[in-house]
Symmetry: C2
Subunit: 161 residues, 2 copies
DNA sequence: GAAGATTGAATACTCAATCTTC
DNA sequence: GAAGATTGAGTATTCAATCTTC
């Protein structure tokens, strides 16, 4: 919030940014449409269920699950409610501290993840991993982590108001 | 859709993919929240208005605008309806071919873009461009374009059914 | 009939307000 | 009172169906 003339993007920056914007507008829908067609769930549904499938006892606290899936607690809560209604997940309070809620993947939920995983991984390989060189894959990781770190910093700056 | 054992991700791929997923789940909300706070619009609203602001006569066909903003025609149509109600955009049929609809940025829409741009660009610099080296910015462009190309290919494969 | 565009219904997301447990 | 979690209202997105114009 300064009055100085903003530093507009130069040509290279502009191009790179446009590619990035295109990516995060198109990649999610591309992954969603494969999963929706083949398993009837969204990418975010898959993230939630697969995070549970890899957890000890197929169980995680809601707040842990939210961190793992990059979601707000509110969004996660809504999504898990739907999952519970469809019988994929069960929730119950932590006996040692009632504030924590444990979400557990049911057998039906497990079966769904097992059925959905191969097609999802194949699509991720097809459009992301296989077209890139190993060096590019490493570079993508570095770039992604660097930006995530800044997002984290920016959001904690604005939250301590 | 093959029965062969799927090629699961190795460690490096897993890490890189997780970073990418985190990125496209968090980056949009980070950009949205800055624009929402400072200008009362979403990132996608900004993309639409700013695309018009850079077009000849501040005017584009709906279908062109959809391509530029990576949106479906249906999503764009809904968004532009709202923009029209707020007086930021006007639509009228192409006199030479009534199937085409021209969307034109109004003076109010222009003012909004002008007001919103500096803060948005500053946020993009802050969390994306400035933390990366010039080489990384070039690499990000290459990676983004490569993946977009595959997404394009995959979607045209599935549409010619 | 095909391309461009819109509509409406179903679904999902966001934000602020609320509730519970410690 | 603060952390964890949920709720509901308002808004946005998606998908299929429809409408127009050529």
């Amino acid at each position: 919030v300064t009055d100085a003339e903003p530093r507009w993007l130069n040509c290279d920056e502009e191009e790179a940014w446009k590619a990035m914007v295109g990516l995060f507008l198109r990649l999610p829908s591309s992954l969603d449409s494969q999963l929706q067609r083949d398993a009837g769930i969204s990418m975010f549904d898959y993230l939630v269920l697969s995070a549970l499938s890899m957890a000890e006892n197929r169980t995680l606290r809601m707040s842990e699950l939210a961190k793992l899936t990059n979601a707000s607690l509110s969004r996660l809560s809504n999504v898990v409610s739907r999952h519970e209604q469809r019988g994929w997940v069960r929730r119950c309070a932590d006996p040692t501290d009632g504030r924590y809620i444990h979400a557990t993947l049911t057998d039906d939920g497990w079966d769904l993840v097992v059925r959905a995983a191969p097609g999802h991984v194949a699509r991720v390989r097809e459009i992301v991993l296989d077209p890139l060189s190993p060096a590019q894959i490493r570079e993508m990781e570095a770039i992604g982590k660097r930006i995530l770190q800044e997002i984290e910093a920016a959001s904690s700056r604005s939250s301590r108001t």
